[in-house]
Symmetry: C2
Subunit: 415 residues, 2 copies
């Protein structure tokens, strides 16, 4: 298949890859302590074993009363109630509220039997010893949190595919659920290719450069929820790449190969992927810049992605394809919202129609808001992205952007 | 000091706390392998030990030439050049380009001596054995990445206080910097108070509820880059709280106490903080909802924060005060951009002027973009936040928001 005959838009390309994968849901499930599951993806539905709050609670400091006893009460004509006791925090109230009675209750305290409302302490006055004046009426239910207001017993409170944030951890703890089933992290094999590439700890000879892609991609994989496995640097040699790719294909849930940058080495990547099984290469060439030579494939159920060798292209394309694929392998039910910052373009930017451009920009703060300043550098080397806060997407229909145009900068920090 | 006499706006409150802390910069520095430093905050300036790229490289597949040899070349009148050899990937070229000569070079290959430009292979044609026709002229420097284009030798490429993203890790590796000095994670002590609070694994008796705040706050602390230390559940007792707070103050870099929700237990928190040293309580009461009873303090150089006991308030306030404080203790030089999603309010929302409101909302996708749907529930319990995607800030000057008003939803996922 000649390269780039049919360039697919990135959304269609991703969809074609996802459609070729076996059913949704996580690869495998593991059981973890809830306290250690922050950021993991839930693999089971969670039902509330009991209501929350588990008992009716006061929402203020005051007196638990029968609302009817306060009807018509005012500063000039208070209702007089006998104080039958105090509700201790953390225990069931010993008192029962009969007509004409009240009990001191603190915020969060359990409502005593017979009481249906709480008068705020500010709306009362001590009368004689053991008696209060209520200066304002309360309606039934006022200042009371009914049992099950937050969650009913048996209610599904969390569904599978949800990434656990601090509040989900808290919610599980509130229900006494101290262990949960989560998706195992997908193992993502990362292969860097190139005769010129040496490990970071090596002193490169003339003509050699250090491996960058293994490490940027490991970082992105970890951020997306995967477990990066570095398979090292593979020479531009069909047999060597096939051997390494075959091992990765056997051991990992997703194989990512950063191809050499010349056409011939890119062809080797596609050939090797094809040799690993059906359906093989699904997309070869995507209508984006950077990232045109991207390869998306599935070989015997294992997704494989061929990324451009250029570090900027590799990282930008990985955000578009590798991260969503990891989320799919985690069984996430929806993609996260893009973390974006609204800004205005600082300069005019040309773009070809029919192609989606991703432009690295730096945010500059002005009195009128953020300016998106393109990070120039025809080098397209890694420090281009070090100097950038995020990417501006130029849609395929646009011929470019004008200075002052509103844009949304997709932050590198975000999901 | 009576509670809430002077409510400070949140930005001023935070500033007052930060101003009372010892100088900027991280608490302590530790040395890590660069490969394991994703998300950590750099504690040293990094200079490039050599330029990047380290040698001039071809950016295309083609022939390295002397540009002058191609001047005037065209399809009808090509320039004829002798092919003097091929530049191997990953090695210094053996050939030197003299006038009338060219050498095959691949993308990323090192420019041979004498050559100053590269003709793309598409713009050439094989003539006789060992000879090519150049069909288009190139200018000097064309298709060549000069040495040092990305980074000059000795240039400061990273400054202290930067959080390391995948691209910073990659940039460090490109320069052979395989270990870096980063800020030690601030140790954040978390104390939950309340006679009614029991650990998540306990079966609560009537009147008791499980600890939520220790776990939601641990999650937030970890996300912000701190190391959460849970000091457990402290009863509503001045002596017990003072003992626990004293130990936390000695062992941690930041102490967070979720106060009981009744006025009396909140007063205990402030008293205990005051007992730990000067300057003591700096802010007691912030003009926000939720979160009015927030306490910000510094005791002998250690920041201390008293949060409301309600789980929703505690987590919302922690995002506003605990997370920025952790970033300051990490020596971060600037706060990250808020990850936001633009949306429109689904309904009218009232708000008091002079107070900043943070409203939990769920995002709904419509054809016109996102709708921000407030997550109701007067319960204000933890599942309110489980159902929310983010917060809408209602500024202090506003009396509320109208349905259809444009808002920015601060995502919980973001920084």
């Amino acid at each position: 298949m000649p390269e780039f005959l049919h360039l697919l838009p990135p959304t269609q390309a991703l969809q074609r890859l996802l459609d070729a994968l076996p059913g949704a849901g996580p690869l495998q499930v593991e059981r973890l302590a809830t306290a250690g599951s922050l950021g993991r993806v839930l693999a089971e539905a969670v039902r509330a074993p009991h209501p929350l709050p588990p008992f009716p609670r006061s929402t203020v400091d005051g007196y638990a009363v029968r609302a009817a006893d306060t009807f018509g009460a005012s500063g000039s004509l208070p209702a007089y109630l006998q104080v039958a006791g105090e509700v201790p925090m953390g225990a069931a109230p010993a008192v029962e509220i009969r007509p004409g009675r009240a009990a001191l209750v603190h915020t969060g305290g359990m409502m005593p039997k017979g009481a249906d409302a709480v008068v705020m302490v500010e709306d009362t006055q001590r009368a004689r010893e053991g008696e209060i004046e209520v200066l304002k009426p309360v309606a039934a239910g006022e200042n009371v949190l009914p049992q099950g207001e937050d969650v009913k017993a048996g209610e599904v409170v969390l569904t599978p595919g949800v990434r656990l944030r601090p509040q989900e951890i808290g919610g599980l703890m509130a229900l006494g659920i101290t262990a949960v089933a989560v998706a195992r992290r997908p193992r993502v094999a990362i292969l860097s290719t190139g005769d010129e590439v040496v490990p970071p700890e090596a002193q490169p000879a003339p003509g050699q450069v250090r491996d960058v892609n293994s490490y940027t991609l490991s970082g992105l994989v970890a951020q997306a929820g995967g477990e990066p496995l570095r398979y090292g640097i593979i020479p531009d040699d069909r047999a060597a790449l096939e051997q390494a790719a075959r091992r990765a294909h056997r051991e990992a849930d997703l194989v990512v190969i950063t191809a050499g940058s010349s056409v011939s080495t890119r062809d080797i990547t596609a050939e090797v992927i094809r040799s690993l099984g059906a359906p093989g290469v699904l997309v070869h060439g995507v209508s984006i810049k950077p990232g045109k030579p991207t390869i998306l494939a599935v070989a015997q159920g294992v997704p494989m992605i061929g990324l451009p060798g250029n570090p900027v292209s590799a990282l930008v394309v990985a955000r578009l394809f590798v991260a969503p694929l990891i989320r799919r392998l985690l069984g996430m039910t929806h993609q996260p919202y893009h973390a974006e910052v609204p800004a205005r373009m600082a300069v005019n930017i040309a773009s070809e129609t029919g192609r989606e451009d991703y432009l690295p920009v730096r945010l500059e703060t002005t009195q009128e808001g953020f300016l998106a300043q393109p990070v120039y550098g025809r080098s397209n080397l890694i420090f281009t992205l070090v100097r950038a806060d995020g990417l501006v997407r130029i849609p395929p229909a646009a011929t470019g952007l004008q200075a002052g145009d509103p844009v949304r900068v997709r932050l590198f920090e975000g999901p």
